[in-house]
């Protein structure tokens, strides 16, 4: 770089640019926090859903699955699993419950987590809640 562009100019761009865009980001975040309640399905956030999220986290479900596209890519997307399973929490409960302890020879299989009925119902309720968040029409189709 030529001498016209000095180190102190570069430094000023760094400080000025960083501060400006950090403040812009905070402003956008402020606006976002105001907009989120219109889309986040918080009406459905019952104590049962909160428990379900806890069960989801305590068993590290995100280590295999994606949820709204984030997580691991080893197992199906679950942001819309409630809809994929025919709008049925029972189907979700049945699936988790029926996983074989020793897995399936040669194939990927979900572990048997030995969840209680309360936990099973809760995690299904959590996935129903997640499926009703307005995620800008994502995923593109029911297969996730």
């Amino acid at each position: 770089m030529s001498d016209v562009f000095t180190k102190s100019m570069a430094r000023n761009i760094y400080y000025g640019g960083s501060v400006f865009f950090l403040l812009l980001f905070l402003a956008l975040t402020f606006d976002t926090l105001g907009e989120i309640p219109k889309r986040d399905n918080h009406e459905a956030l019952t104590p049962q859903v909160a428990l379900g999220k806890k069960v989801w986290e305590d068993n590290d479900c995100i280590g295999c699955h994606t949820l709204l596209g984030e997580g691991a890519y080893f197992a199906p997307e679950l942001g819309n699993v409630y809809k994929r399973f025919g709008n049925s929490t029972d189907a979700i409960v049945g699936f988790i419950k029926s996983r074989p302890v020793e897995g399936i020879p040669g194939r990927r299989s979900m572990p048997q987590f030995n969840l209680s009925d309360e936990e099973l119902e809760a995690v299904a309720a959590f996935l129903k809640y997640a499926s009703e968040i307005n995620a800008a029409n994502w995923p593109p189709n029911i297969q996730g």
Partner: protein
Amino acid sequence: MKYSSQAVAKPYFIAAIGLFIGQILFGVILGLQYVIGDFLFPEIPFNVARMVHTNLLIVWLLFGFMGASYYLVPEEAERELHSPMLAWVLFWVFLVAGALTILGYLLVPYAQLAELTMNDLLPTMGREFLEQPTITKIGIVIVALGFLFNVGMTILGGRKTVVNLVLLTGLTGLAVFFLFAFYVPDNLVLDKYFWWWVVHLWVEGVWELILGAILAFVLIKTTGVDREVIEKWLYVIIAMTLITGIIGTGHHFFWIGTPEYWQWWGSIFSAMEPIPFFMMTVFAFNMVNRRRRDHPNKVAVLWALGTAVMAFLGAGVWGFLHTLAPINYYTHGTQITAAHGHMAFYGAYVMIVLTIISYAMPILRGQEAADPRAQVVEMWSFWLMTVSMVFITLFLTAAGVLQVWMQRYTEMPESFMVVQEKIEIFYWLRELAGVVFLLGLIVYVVSFFVKGGEREMASDVVADTA
């Protein structure tokens, strides 16, 4: 070595390499589980192996960053480290805490680990990359604060170079943004929104400052180019990093229940995120071409050029590939993401840590540079690891394109598991490339033990060009 306290960097580098080996072993296990679904099941399920793989990566990179800081901060500040003792204490605290956490993942089911570590008191477990028990997270904060204090005191009491100040800014940002790991609201949208404040603002924000500072330091030392020139470049690069990268966080806010204007903000700003990486490539090659001395440590220069190129490809090009909202709509959460993640982490962060290790380790062992024979072996490891990572990325990209096509972008979308079986061949190829990577890593470790004619470093050989 100009200051005896720099020696404390050595255990950090050794620990980093040790954990790197563990990370890659689990990577190979994961790759195999992709094609032999019941491999090690139910003893080590995929999610556990993945936690070990990603957490080891983060921990060894942090060891690398800390080692780099302990090495370069005293040299830049022209004084001894504030407290080598504190650095040693924190080393053992971090290593033991890290090892116990990994053992916890492997020895007990995750839900039981949550119980054992009393996660319910302050639940923070079970989120991607932040799976550590709350007690470990608190430990990380304590280690980070102690480390920042030690490095900060050294910098403030010595010569304040741009390299040191940028490094300190990056490290402080690292510690500050980690605090969002403790915010886990029940509301999934808010949870995801602020989770990215750790993950994105780390790897596409403040970590790039650390990367830039380490790269600048190694280039100053190995090329002898005027510090003023290098510092100007560093400022411009990190300015572009933060100008594009902060709002670029928006590319994670497309489909998680956040307002749709983020599709514009995120697309436009993250489309510019390759710019600082491109500048970094131009910068590194420019400095090496304009070098005023031929440093005997050729392999360190190779790593420095390599990280500049691979960070641009992995973070820049492979990031851009799927960052525009209309494209990301189809690629979000597929093997495309995995492809990008692998090459970006390797190119930007693995390689910068290996750069500073390559530069500093011979000096810490009493030589200006490793014996030429050892350097040749290390260069072999450079090419084996780098080329195999390129192939890992290409195979995962192929898998991802097919996955997007069959599962998302078609009239008759097929189910996830059906598609996974159809693209299996690419997972096999990826695993093969992964094994080559492991071989490269073994060669890397071997390079430290290659004996040649010992060339003791005369204290006046390392001319300080600063």
